[in-house]
């Protein structure tokens, strides 16, 4: 179950338009028309992307009947970015050792 949800999340994140929509929503909720404006895309095309993001649980619709603004659902995005954070920590460990090694090499070079 957890994995199927992640599949949907990563599939939704794999598209640059959808990532741009999420970036826009990170700045605050927006209606479909507001989301469509910066993209050279029709509202139905944007709606299709929004459906994928909704199914992946990355966004949800607000309640105001007229505008139905979309909002970011930060929890699900957090599950996906948690992986990047673990990966980052693993490499940060490597690179801290590299920092120390480079300092040592620099000292040797100037001697």
């Amino acid at each position: 179950m957890y994995n199927r949800r992640l599949d949907a999340t990563f599939a939704a994140l794999a598209d640059s338009t959808r990532r741009a929509i999420l970036t826009r929503l990170a700045a605050g909720e927006a209606s479909v028309a507001e989301l469509a404006r910066p993209f050279a895309m029709s509202q139905p095309a944007i709606s299709k992307h929004l459906k994928v993001l909704e199914r992946a649980g990355l966004i949800r619709r607000g309640r105001e009947a007229q505008r139905r603004p979309r909002r970011l659902e930060p929890k699900r995005l957090g599950e996906a970015t948690a992986w990047l954070e673990r990966y980052r920590q693993l490499w940060e460990g490597n690179y801290r050792r590299l920092d120390a090694l480079l300092q040592e090499l620099k000292t040797k070079e100037t001697k």
Binding site: L6, F10, S16, A82, W83, L84, Y95, L98, L102
Partner: protein, 162 residues
């Protein structure tokens, strides 16, 4: 020192960027001389890199094997150098002995030096989006597994509350 950034620039790639306080000749050497690579490219705590063979020529091979020093588990990988422009660019293929993603990946290391500091960008490009996602999911699962291991240890060490 800037923090390491990890991004997914396209649906087939994972990229890392970080700044090092050293000229790029040294950063390049640390990626291409076995006795230097062995000093830092170790992965999680408790692992070492006992095998580090590098034939630094276009078409030359490299082979690295990591070892978990507590239980003896090994993990090997290797590939072929495709482009070598010292000290600024290194492109090599990558394939793990025990495939955990389909196909081969192509790793590109780019080093840009400004005022004695080096910005490193390492990009891993996978054969398909599925392969890239497999890498990401495997990381997720391992992370979840590690958390369960820690939980199990904690439970084992905690006297039952009565």
């Amino acid at each position: 020192m800037t923090r390491l950034k990890v991004t997914t620039p396209s649906d087939r790639e994972i990229a890392m960027t970080r700044v090092f306080d050293a000229p790029r000749e040294l950063v390049f050497a640390a990626h291409t001389k076995p006795d230097l690579v062995k000093r830092w490219l170790l992965g999680p705590p408790g692992w070492s890199l006992p095998v580090c063979e590098i034939d630094l020529r276009v078409g030359g091979k490299y082979r690295w094997v990591w070892r978990n020093d507590s239980d003896g588990t090994t993990m090997g990988m290797g590939g072929v150098y495709r482009e070598i422009v010292a000290p600024e660019r290194l492109v090599a293929t990558e394939r793990f002995d025990e495939a955990w993603y389909p196909g081969e990946a192509l790793n590109t290391l780019i080093l840009v030096e400004t005022n004695g500091r080096t910005t490193l960008t390492q990009t891993m490009r996978y054969e398909s989006k599925d392969a890239r996602d497999a890498v990401m999911k495997s990381g997720m699962e391992k992370g979840v597994e590690a958390s369960y291991d820690r939980l199990a240890q904690l439970l084992a060490a905690t006297p039952a509350a009565r």
